[in-house]
């Protein structure tokens, strides 16, 4: 087949497939994670381990911020139905800061899961002490209710 025929053919196929997703409705593109499903459902969470110390590290390579590196909490997820939300909350009263990470259990699935916490940066001026008391929570949100799966203290260790 002549090269330009191949190219024209490919262009035609792409165009046809594209238009098929339009008002003709021949192919329905799925919606991004159906939002009405978020928070609906249920799961049984057993907490395996949670961090006791959380490093607050000074930036490397000349970066002059502090970085909070919260270790992952490990939980067992069972009897999962729907898409409940698990919040990993951190509250540092002395600094007046609260941070939270959101996890959708539908994406994680059942079994042993590592619930991570997104690193966050703080300005140098915000950090004065060598350590801070913090409060950790794991909260399960299902069908409009909140269940605190775990709560306890942790110590933030400032590392230069």
């Amino acid at each position: 087949m002549h090269p330009s025929r191949v190219v024209t053919g490919t262009v035609a196929v792409i165009l046809i497939l594209t238009v098929a997703t339009g008002p003709l409705g021949l192919y329905d593109v799925p919606e991004t994670q159906a939002t009405d499903e978020l928070g609906e459902g249920n799961a049984t969470i057993t907490v395996v381990s949670t961090p006791e110390t959380i490093p607050l590290e000074y930036g490397r390579y000349g970066n002059d911020e502090y970085h909070l590196r919260v270790p992952a909490a490990v939980v067992d997820v069972e009897n999962l139905s729907g898409n409940p939300i698990l919040n990993y909350n951190l509250d540092i009263e002395a600094m007046g800061k609260s941070k939270s990470s959101v996890h959708f259990l539908d994406e994680l699935g059942e079994g042993r899961q590592h619930i991570t916490f997104a690193d966050s940066a703080m300005a140098e001026s915000a950090v004065e002490n060598q350590s801070y008391e913090a409060h950790i929570e794991l909260v399960l949100r299902t069908n409009g209710t909140e269940r605190v799966v775990y709560e306890g203290p942790a110590t933030i260790e400032v590392e230069e």
Binding site: V19, P30, N63
Partner: protein
């Protein structure tokens, strides 16, 4: 002429030749790989809303009642909220209309992915034409593109982004691609196609230009207009700088074109337009082939005509002919008062006010003199600020050589990326050697005629730096974005110099392999280090900075050595290749990793992969 004939003529006009077209497509495809639907910098919101307003048929965004838009860059006048950068917005209107049509025809996510794949197919086909393997390009390219498109179709989910934002991004990306083509044409004019291609690819690969192609601020347009300016200037100085028109005879189109481009920039950002106008006049008038009355009349006529959109916009937005939209925000030149602030309000009230005189003639007659004084005062004040900024050596060092950490961290959330010019484009270490090479040629031949194009490039560089020197360091710069045109000028000067010859002629394969190896191997190593070293983005930024300075230094040293002794040229070429690779890796990481949180990717597969990468701090 046949349809094919018109197509060829248009192609030649836009891209010069097939190589230019291929370059354009390649740059566009790589840029759009990182295309995301979100906002990176806050005043994108202003531009997005103003464009939507323009599409609805009015220059104001909304009435300033109740809860109205207050994003950075908006200003309120006479009870209406106005935006800025109207020139850029009007240029983005065709893209917006195209997107609206696409949205009606098909699922937008799929349609945009299809568009990208068609661009890639076009790129591969054109590449096949140039390199002589048409069959392989056609079959292989079609196969790969089809497979990739099907994969994207499989993971696509529909989304609902702002069409105005997408239109702004598309137009900016196209502008950057044209900047690469512009450099290609400029250097080809002077040194042949190989060097031209080096310049075009160099802009995309060795500078952060592609990053700014997706952030819809004016910088992509300033970049392209400056390149266009230099090209028009160069073209006008050659024998073929004139065109014969039916009634008027032989006219200097390229010279006039340069002034038209300045007017276009003024429509987008008045202050930059003024500086570039001064730069152009300073170099154009003394070095012009002829300054007879007919030539000057033609140039002046074209310039005046090109300024009409600028004047009309000013009239509608700020109410006065010479007051650009930014004066509504507060002050003519963004800072508010640099000697001209009080004069501004005086000029307004003295000139009969914004409400009166809708008749254009009466407006001109009544306002022009006081307005001119006001403008002159502002320009003078701004120049003084700029010059004093340039004389601040610490500031200039931080901007051009090694960035200082203190400049950024007012806003801890913004990822702390604030690279200096050298750190973002380490290849500029070769600038010194390139300059010396040029100088030594002059000395050796005892020829002191200065090349007007090189002089103009130098003057443009100073002009661009002056626009912001007095106000640097600023937050949220990432790669000194206000000086983006300087990157293009730097690439031009290096590609045009002897160093360029090493890269594109004598040591070509070494250059290509060093670059490819740097990106493929160095890029992956860096990425692994980022992930396993648990780097926060702020730390990664400093790592890039250190890498940039180190490579820049290596480039500078090896290039100087290469000038002295040709045995060092291989080392210099390797250094430049690696330096360019560092820039490319930064742009790719910035688009696909550091800023991946700003919206969904247009390409579903990219979205899919990036979502599964370990996230940064």
């Amino acid at each position: 002429m046949t349809a094919r004939g018109y197509r060829h003529r248009l192609g030649r006009l836009l891209f010069r030749d097939r190589l230019g077209l291929t370059l354009f497509l390649g740059v566009l495809c790589v840029t759009l790989l990182s295309w995301r639907t979100g906002i990176v910098i806050n005043d994108n919101i202003t531009l997005r809303e103003t464009l939507a307003a323009l599409a609805d048929g009015h220059v104001w965004i909304e009435p300033a009642t109740g809860e109205y838009l207050r994003s950075p860059g908006t200003g309120v006048r006479d009870g209406f909220v106005y935006g800025r950068n109207y020139g850029q917005l009007v240029l983005s209107l065709p893209a917006l209309w195209g997107l609206q049509i696409l949205d009606a025809l098909a699922d937008l996510h799929v349609a945009l992915a299809a568009l990208w794949h068609l661009l890639v197919l076009a790129f591969v086909v054109q590449l096949g034409h140039i390199r002589g393997y048409r069959r392989m390009a056609a079959y292989g390219g079609s196969g790969l593109v089809l497979v990739s498109f099907l994969a994207n179709l499989a993971v696509a989910t529909s989304f609902d982004p702002s069409l105005s934002l997408l239109a702004l991004q598309m137009t900016a990306a196209v502008a950057v691609a044209f900047a690469a083509v512009g450099l290609y044409r400029l250097v080809t004019l002077r040194r042949g196609r190989r060097r031209g291609l080096l310049a075009g690819v160099g802009l995309a690969a060795a500078t952060p230009a592609m990053f700014w192609g997706l952030v819809p601020k004016r910088h992509a347009f300033s970049l392209t207009i400056v390149v266009g300016l230099l090209y028009a200037f160069a073209r006008s100085r050659r024998g073929d700088g004139t065109v014969s028109l039916p009634v008027v005879g032989s006219v200097p189109v390229y010279r006039a074109g340069a002034y038209a481009l300045v007017a276009l920039l003024a429509w987008i950002h008045a202050e930059e337009g003024v500086y570039l106008f001064l730069a152009l006049v300073l170099v154009d008038i003394p070095t012009a082939p002829s300054n007879d009355r007919r030539t000057l009349a033609f140039v002046a006529a074209v310039f005046a005509l090109s300024l009409v959109p600028f004047f009309v916009t000013n009239l509608f937005v700020a109410g006065e002919l010479l007051k650009p939209p930014r004066s509504v925000f507060g002050g003519f030149f963004e800072t508010g008062a640099s000697g001209g602030g009080s004069g501004g309000s005086g000029g307004g009230s003295g000139g009969g006010g914004s409400g009166g005189g809708r008749s254009l003639l009466s407006v001109l007659v009544a306002l022009l003199p006081s307005q001119a004084v006001w403008v002159a005062g502002n320009v003078w004040g701004s120049l003084l600020t700029g010059v004093s900024g340039m004389l601040d050596t610490q500031n200039m060092y931080n901007t051009f050589v090694h960035s200082s950490v203190e400049n950024v961290n007012e806003d801890v959330g913004f990822r702390g990326i604030n690279l200096s010019v050298l750190e973002a484009a380490p290849v500029f270490g070769a600038a010194l050697a390139g300059g010396l090479a040029g100088l030594s040629t002059h000395v050796r031949n005892r020829d002191w005629h200065l090349d007007p194009v090189v002089v103009f490039a130098a003057v443009l560089t100073i002009a661009v730096v002056l626009t912001k020197a007095g106000r640097l360091p600023l937050r949220v710069q990432v790669t000194v974005r206000y000086l983006l045109p300087v990157y293009a000028l730097g690439v031009f000067l290096i590609a045009d110099s002897t160093i360029g010859a090493w890269l594109s002629d004598t040591h070509r394969s070494l250059a290509v392999w060093s670059y490819a190896g740097g990106v493929a191997i160095g890029g992956q190593l860096l990425f692994l280090a980022l992930v396993f070293g648990d780097f926060a983005v702020g730390e990664a930024a400093r790592l890039h900075a250190l890498l940039g300075v180190a490579l820049g230094l290596a480039v500078a040293v090896t290039c100087l050595a290469g000038l002295a002794d040709r045995r060092f040229r291989s080392a210099a070429v390797v250094a430049v290749g690696l330096a360019a690779a560092a820039s490319t890796v930064f742009v790719l990481l910035a688009g696909l990793y550091y800023f991946s949180f700003t919206g969904e990717y247009i390409l579903p597969v990219v979205d899919f992969v990036v979502d599964r990468l370990p996230s940064t701090g």
